[in-house]
């Protein structure tokens, strides 16, 4: 654990959130607003069918999607935005390596994201009156365990961004695709298990919504899924980084 890098990234988060407090608050209101729109949009339809469980699922799915978007975007946002804002070359001068820096950035953004998620979760539950009995310790544990798969996936897309630059459209499509990923069931082992984050989202749903007991094999699947995507992401990013350095494309936009 490199405390310098971790503290540095946490401080960066703090500086940006404090100096751009309006952006921070409006972001929170925006996400909450989107959910409320969704919630009240389908509430009547679901209640007509007497399926209260669907509303809980919607709420949890929304929280999972919010977290997944943040974890996936922590790396891609850095590569795409910092290329445009123009200081990505300086980030490549990190002695611990650009990938290490991105991993610490993802960790710090995910931790801050969890705090935000808690605020949003309580705001949404209070406004809708749909109180979920969430054990946040378990929930966050599962999310942090499955987040590396999204970071790895983000590294793959970021590698593409280094070479091909304008990948915002692909990134936006994948952000929407994450909605599908958090809705899929990847447990027990099936074809969806091999998609990033799907086992983690499934485990979170099982534990939080269905109050199921922890199963070691499910936990193991989540860990392997995370590890494979993270290692794969690092490998792919390194390959693209090498190509970008050969062609002098780092920072070119």
């Amino acid at each position: 654990m490199n405390t310098h890098l971790f503290v540095n990234e946490m401080r960066l988060q703090w500086y940006e959130m404090r100096q751009y407090w309006f952006e921070t608050l409006s972001g929170l209101f925006f996400i909450t607003g989107i959910f409320l729109g969704l919630f009240y949009g389908i509430k009547g339809f679901v209640l007509e069918q007497g399926d209260g469980q669907s509303l809980d699922g919607l709420l949890l799915g929304f929280l999972l999607w919010t977290f997944a978007t943040g974890a996936y975007g922590s790396v891609t946002k850095s590569v795409i935005e910092d290329t445009q804002k123009g200081y990505i070359e300086q980030l490549f001068l990190c002695p611990k390596g650009f990938i290490s820096l991105m991993l610490y950035r993802s960790l710090s953004e995910s931790l801050v994201g969890l705090v935000m998620l808690t605020v949003i979760a309580y705001a949404v539950m209070a406004i809708t009156g749909n109180w979920l009995n969430i054990n946040f310790a378990y929930f966050y544990g599962i999310l942090l365990l499955s987040a590396p798969s999204l970071v790895g996936f983000g590294l793959m897309i970021s590698g593409l961004a280094l070479l091909f630059k304008r990948v915002e459209t692909v990134g936006a499509m994948l952000t929407l695709a994450l909605m599908g990923l958090v809705a899929l069931d990847g447990l027990p082992l099936n074809i969806f298990t091999f998609l990033p984050f799907v086992p983690g989202a499934s485990l979170a749903r099982d534990i939080v919504l269905d109050q199921s007991l922890f199963r070691l094999d499910h936990l193991l699947i989540v860990m392997v899924n995370s590890l494979v995507y993270l290692v794969g992401g690092i490998f792919v990013f390194r390959a693209f980084e090498k190509q970008a350095k050969k062609r002098n494309l780092i920072g070119q936009y």
Binding site: E16, E89, L91, F92, L93
Partner: protein, 307 residues
């Protein structure tokens, strides 16, 4: 010592650098000169390992930079344009961030940042994010970040681009102070040859990716003519007479009534001036210039065979 040995790099078969070698010691300023596309930025980016080069070696204190990225702790860089800072943070926050990124923090670093922040004249803009600063102050913020952790070697790619005279002077003062206090080595690329002339000990001249010259400024100037005399007369002069008026090493060009002579020592011109005076030949214009860095560079590139 930072040493670049036989560095070569090509893009799609087109050579950008061919066997370029030079060195940079702590406590000296070396200028990397060349026209656009001569390979200056490729060299700087190679030192930072932002580019994978084809052949050659870059080492710091005999350690190959490709063996470990820890050498980056010893490097500070202001890369081309304003591409060096997070525009959403203040200059000081940037300096603090980039020092920690290199693994440096603590009271000494904070004091160094405070000191440099004042010396660079950024105190009055302390609360402004970089995006709200002028071009010159953005450049100063980038310099603050590069110097914040006192790296052994500082690479400045076009640091004077877009800066006014006062800011360029401030930059010269800061670099000279850093040389005295921190014993840092500076590698500077710039088109501002007046700036280079004032701060650099040695120059490395690149042309189409090839090393044209490496040595001290004095050596460069001594290889070229030190003075240039331009004179326009009210009547043409016989060229054979003109030649007889000059001794030693000189280069004479005559175009009707306009005469241009490059020469080495001041007393070489006396004979001709005396001749004009004696024969009452009135000069319409007369100008003697000593060799500027800009002129030296231009002459060097034109001659290409000086080395």
């Amino acid at each position: 010592m930072l040493a670049v040995k036989e560095l070569s790099k090509s893009y799609a078969g087109e050579p950008a650098l061919s066997n370029v070698s030079f060195s940079l010691n702590r406590g000296e300023v070396v200028a990397l000169l060349g026209a656009n596309g001569s390979g200056k930025t490729t060299t700087v980016q190679s030192i930072c390992r932002l580019i994978e080069w084809d052949q050659g070696e870059i080492s710091i204190d005999n350690a190959d930079t490709r063996s470990s990225s820890s050498f980056l702790k010893q490097i500070g860089a202001v890369l081309g344009g304003c591409r060096n800072t997070n525009w959403r943070l203040t200059a000081k926050q940037n300096a603090d961030y980039f020092a920690r990124l290199r693994g440096f923090s603590g009271t000494a670093i904070r004091q160094n940042i405070d000191q440099l922040h004042s010396a660079l004249g950024l105190d009055e803009h302390a609360k402004k994010e970089v995006m709200k600063l002028s071009t010159g102050n953005k450049q100063k913020a980038a310099l603050l970040s590069a110097l914040s952790y006192s790296p052994d070697f500082v690479l400045l790619d076009e640091p004077t681009l877009g800066l006014d005279f006062n800011t360029v002077n401030d930059l010269q003062v800061i670099i000279k102070e850093q040389l005295q206090t921190a014993e840092q080595g500076f590698l500077v690329t710039s088109h501002d040859l007046g700036f280079i002339d004032k701060i650099c000990d040695r120059v490395v001249v690149l042309d189409h990716g090839q090393l044209l010259f490496e040595g001290t400024l004095d050596t460069l100037k001594s290889r070229l003519y030190k003075y240039e005399l331009n004179i326009e007369l009210n009547q043409p002069l016989d060229i054979s007479i003109l030649h007889s008026l000059w001794a030693g090493r000189f280069d004479l060009h005559v175009d009707r009534q306009t005469i241009k002579v490059n020469y080495e020592s001041a007393d070489q011109s006396l004979k001709m001036l005396h001749y004009l005076h004696e024969n009452k030949i009135q000069p319409m214009q007369l100008q003697i210039d000593s060799l500027s860095m800009e002129k030296a560079y231009q002459t060097l590139v034109q001659q290409k065979d000086v080395k």
